[in-house]
Symmetry: C2
Subunit: 579 residues, 2 copies
């Protein structure tokens, strides 16, 4: 009977509360819950059907949108059949939640099939981020999506825009990642080769081209707008300013984005504001994210090309394409020529762009002195005939029991307790193939004390073959770092140290080392956790190209059960958990 | 200096001990240690290269050879990248070691990448066994090998033979198992289709035929003897008797083996002796093993065909072939016609063979009465549009935390605590598609008390499509059972119960239900553990075709840490383990 009374006392109270509370809630930080299932699906990212790792039946995964200060809560259920899974929240520093960093063997036990793990972390800083698998090569299998953090209510970005566009960039192979992994781990190694397609928001075209009408070689795509491989058209109004968010989760490809007839103003890099700088085109390495402003001030009766070309490797993949579509034009491919990207090996062009990225005035500045400087030489090596990448002659092999638990509880035998070297021989000739290509394997970690200023000099070198040195974008977990500078050849304390930029170095979480060059970064150990620092090229990490920083782990408390309930730390679940 | 004295006192002692101890050791039961690494390799089982799951770099895995009473100790290290793994020792009953049965989600936590699990179990009974993956569809990926137990020293087999031959039978797809799994789990379901090849000891021929010279359609194989797909030639001497061991680990195919001009005398089934019976050809269902005796009493100047055809499904796969090669002939393919297998749907032929398999005199007899009779109706169903197999309208979905630990420690919420039904509606028409194809999913178990005699009536039915009923070979873990009989249509207590064979029913671990038929089995609950009982067709199990028997779990003690160190039982590791 009660249910038939439309306005009971209780109803009125609820009604009043709702209107009273709502404004408070929308101003205050929120917990934003997501319920996700990871599973394989058949999908056609580039018009060719393949198994793809998706979330809730979609690929790429859903976009997370939150406001600075919010807590994101992802209930991640594993619906894979025999594979564990984790998800890394790329660019989120995970202050006070190092177990939520989503790195297998490092920050947590993998989530086994039919298990659910709850990722709960604060997004403390507005910016363009993304998330992706961080186990085996599951990122390459398609496990990724966008994570966008808006400024908190009442806050403003230091630039104006009328609308927003978002492109998550990736590369795609038709060979499934299991076979890719087997090939990379075979002797002789079978390289994965160049990607079949470049994708924007998980969409590309393999058998045809949007620019087929401009080419004699390739046929024009005939795609329904709802095809899984139909390009994500950028719909714009004339004479407006748009913020275009770009993030690259490529497995291998370094990219360059150019928009016909439009310049871009760079304003954000990896969730940090930068000095606005106008660019004709922008390089995006795997693991990086940017925001650029575009003003739609060109002839509004036309559409314009958005082109994404490959940098740093002899391209065997056609550029990814989409259309900047001025309203009210139909979204027809432009008849204008495609933007021309700089030659793939025009490194001066790439270095010029990298050197233009500087911190916005008022950004946090680095300490002027460092407490510890670690030199990391990147080399390609052989171990028992297997091809590997090594850092100071150590190729990283992750242990079965995650570091976070095994270090916290002082377990012996969970990983190699000898720390890897902090430097390399001064005799090493970075311009030549290694004179002794043999290397070693280890799961050792660099222990970092709390409250110290750490410099890392990333030193590139020649690979196994003569006259080959590759691009490596290095990504640090748990931190942003200042990029103090890039240089050619071998870093020299005397020559280069004094020229490092301490005035306005940009804060990043990912930075490139150019072929035969070095890159210097600085960060402060203010975030207890176990953090990977690694080349973001998926097969390179798979072949050992990374190091582990164990940062004041003794300060970590209340690790959730599920993060340590495996391997040698399973027995710690009973006494050391808060959930 | 000491090392230069050739016969020090110590040396003499060691020398004497060696000769003194050796005869004792060879008579006594042994612990036989194996160190295995599971990993993917590129391999060409049927002359086409594909990723294959192998052990120690070989496919199929190494053969285990032991003597009755020995303890087999397999140190299994997982070198897969993102997949857990377990190995089931098919036919070994695991008395007192139920945690070593190698069933994911049932008897143990999966072995995650870079972890090692030690399987330690007694092989108490001579016979022809095999081992295989029991997680997802890893058996279909190639994770299997032979396990042969000889009689203990001083014991004799109840038949004579001069030499031994061994064929492990399987079927092979070019689509990798991950894609097979995704297809089976898709809506609409994508069926895996018929295998590309039938393999003997992991070898078959896809693009050619050993009998190419007899056919206008297929070309003759030109294979080097060391090719991965070269057939396993059966080399024999004239006028001898050979024991041919056969075991089928097929994913799908029911097989029939015939040898040109040679009869076979069946002497063993699933590690149990049977009344010797002479057969022209023998059916082998997935999960079954046999020994047959062959006497090489034919024209010794010729070789003879060994042919393995497909039963029970319209064959789209050419027979697997090899050669019975009489010494000293070269191993050339015979010019005689291929043996002709009965038509794929000649079920009377198959039933005649099944009914000839009876226990050898002196074998253990079944109790004459049962304590409990469970009826299991096998149906194909739909659940939310997904195609499933169900038992009494319950499709089995395994939990994330293995039963053995969660039942032992009385954990709530680890699986569905409602037991599935023990019977089905008497109205159900097994000759027609289900009138309501909807089914349910559950992880519930049948609880069995210790020391009881259990009957199971396996009842086949029509599948989703009219006029389709399939073969299902059911395999029981932890037990042999007596096969009391097979029948047509629906089992009737009144009509059929009194005609069951209690005199000389064979002991088996796997038994077939024929289309539209029933099969009655009996076993005694003398082995505490959690035991799967399921259709051995890999995609059928994957789609839910199985049940779980939780047998007097309260009697199990000292479960090893590694078997429970995951999921909800991780926290039990500390207090309840002996290693």
């Amino acid at each position: 009977m009660a249910s038939s009374r439309p306005f009971s006392c209780l109803n009125i109270v609820v009604f009043l509360c709702f209107f009273y509370v709502l404004p408070q809630v929308s101003l205050a930080a929120k917990a934003r819950h997501f319920h996700w299932e990871v599973g394989y699906l058949f999908w056609s990212p580039d018009c060719v059907e393949n198994p793809v790792m998706g979330i809730n039946g979609q690929y790429p995964g859903p976009t997370i949108r939150a406001k600075a200060g919010d807590t994101v809560v992802v209930h991640l259920h594993n619906k894979l059949h025999t594979e564990g899974v984790v998800i890394h929240w790329h660019g989120i520093r995970q202050f006070e939640t190092p177990w939520a960093d989503g790195t297998a063997s490092i920050s947590q036990c993998v989530i086994n099939p039919e298990e659910t793990f709850v990722y709960r972390f604060k997004v403390d800083k507005a910016g363009t981020y993304f998330y992706h698998g961080h186990y085996g090569m599951q990122r390459s299998a398609g496990l990724y999506g966008s994570l966008i953090v808006d400024v908190a209510d009442g806050e403003k970005e230091p630039f104006h825009y009328d609308g927003e566009l978002n492109l998550l960039l990736s590369d795609w192979w038709h060979q499934n990642v299991h076979e890719q992994e087997i090939g990379l781990s075979s002797n002789p190694m079978r390289w994965i080769g160049e990607p079949q397609s470049i994708l924007m928001n998980g969409k590309g075209q393999y058998n045809c081209s949007l620019a087929g009408h401009l080419s004699k070689k390739t046929s024009l795509c005939k795609l329904r707008a709802d095809a899984q491989c139909a390009p994500p058209i950028l719909h714009v109004l004339p004479n407006k300013t748009y913020r275009l968010r770009l993030a690259s989760t490529t497995s291998l490809a370094s990219l360059n984005l150019a928009i016909g007839h439009h310049k871009m103003v760079l304003v954000e890099a990896d969730g940090n504001y930068v000095q606005p700088v106008t660019l004709d085109d922008i390089d995006i390495y795997s693991g990086e994210s940017y925001s650029v402003l575009i003003t739609t001030n060109q002839n509004p009766s036309m559409n314009y090309w958005v082109s994404l070309g490959v940098r740093g490797r002899h391209p065997a993949t056609p550029p990814g394409l989409t259309i900047l579509n001025y309203h009210p034009n139909t979204a027809r491919p432009p008849s204008s020529p495609l933007p021309i990207h700089a030659a793939w090996d025009d490194y001066p062009h790439s270095k010029a762009i990298a050197n233009k990225i500087l911190a916005l005035q008022g950004s946090p500045k680095p300490p002027t002195r460092y407490d510890r400087r670690i030199y990391l030489l990147n080399t390609q090596n052989k171990i028992n005939g297997f091809t590997k990448w090594s850092i100071n002659n150590v190729s990283l092999a992750l242990p079965s029991t995650p570091y976070l638990g095994s270090i916290k509880f002082g377990l012996k035998g969970a990983f190699d307790h000898q720390s890897p070297p902090e430097n390399f021989s001064s005799e090493y000739d970075v311009m030549k193939p290694p004179s002794n290509p043999n290397s070693t394997v280890s799961s050792g970690v660099y222990k970092l004390e709390f409250g110290k200023t750490i410099d890392v000099i990333l030193q590139n070198a020649n690979a196994l073959n003569a006259n080959v040195s590759e691009i490596h974008p290095w990504h640090l977990h748990g931190h942003d770092f200042w990029v103090l500078g890039y240089g050619e050849g071998k870093f020299s304390e005397e020559k280069h140290s004094k020229n490092l930029n301490l005035k306005n170095p940009p804060l990043r979480n990912t930075v490139v080392i150019f072929p035969y060059g070095w890159t210097a970064i600085r960060f402060v150990t203010d975030n207890p956790g176990v953090w990977a620092f690694h080349c973001h090229i998926e097969p390179h990490l798979h072949m050992g190209m990374g190091v582990i920083f164990a940062e004041s782990v003794e300060r970590i408390k209340n690790i959730p059960q599920a993060a340590i309930g495996c391997g040698m730390t399973a027995k710690m679940v009973m006494n050391n958990s808060h959930t």
